[in-house]
Amino acid sequence: QQQVKQSPQSLIVQKGGISIINCAYENTAFDYFPWYQQFPGKGPALLIAIRPDVSEKKEGRFTISFNKSAKQFSLHIMDSQPGDSATYFCAASGISNFGNEKLTFGTGTRLTIIP
C-alpha cells in the first residue's frame, strides 16, 4: 500500500516534443506529490510538486496533472530540450502535525531528449 508505481522505465523524445511520465499510488494518506530530477552523479532535486486539492500545477515547461479519484499523477515536459535528459522520480508523502513524513519514491524514468 506504500508503493508508488512509475512508468515508463525509459523514454526517448525528440527535441521540442512532449515528455509524459506517469505515476500511480495506493495509499490515500499521501498528501504531497513531488517530482524529482536527477542528473548523473548528483542527488535528486525537487522539480515541481502538487497537493491533491488542485488538479494541475504548471511551472514553466513542467506541468503536473493530478487525478485524485484514480490515484494517478503525471509529469508533462513541454518543448523538451536536451538539457532535460535526466532521471525523473515521482514521489509521495504524508503531512502530519509532527513533521515531514518520509518520501516514497517511484522507480524512476530515464528520459533522453534527442536532437
Partner: protein, 117 residues
Amino acid sequence: EPEVTQTPSHQVTQMGQEVILRCVPISNHLYFYWYRQILGQKVEFLVSFYNNEISEKSEIFDDQFSVERPDGSNFTLKIRSTKLEDSAMYFCASSEAFLAGLYNEQFFGPGTRLTVL
C-alpha cells in the same frame, strides 16, 4: 546557494567492516534524513532524525545501522558490519523548520557510493 554535502563520494569496504558516511546538512535545517538507492532501483527511505532522535525508520534500518549528529554541523550514518547487499548510493537530505500542515522541501546531497566487497 546552500547545499547538502556528503563525504566521501565513494567508499569501498570489505564485508563485515564498519563504515561511517558523513553529511553536512544545510545550516538552518532541523530535519535530517538518509535514503539509499541500490543500482538501478528506486530511492528508499532509511531514517529521519529531529531534535537529536530518530523520528521514523524503515524496515531496512535494522540494528546494524545508527545515526548521529555528533556536533552542530555533521550528520552521520554508521553501518556496523557491512554486508554485500549494503552496496548502494546513500543520500543525505535535510529540510528546514517545520510548519504544521505544510510540506518542507527535502534537499538532497550528491550521495556516497558504498561498495562492499
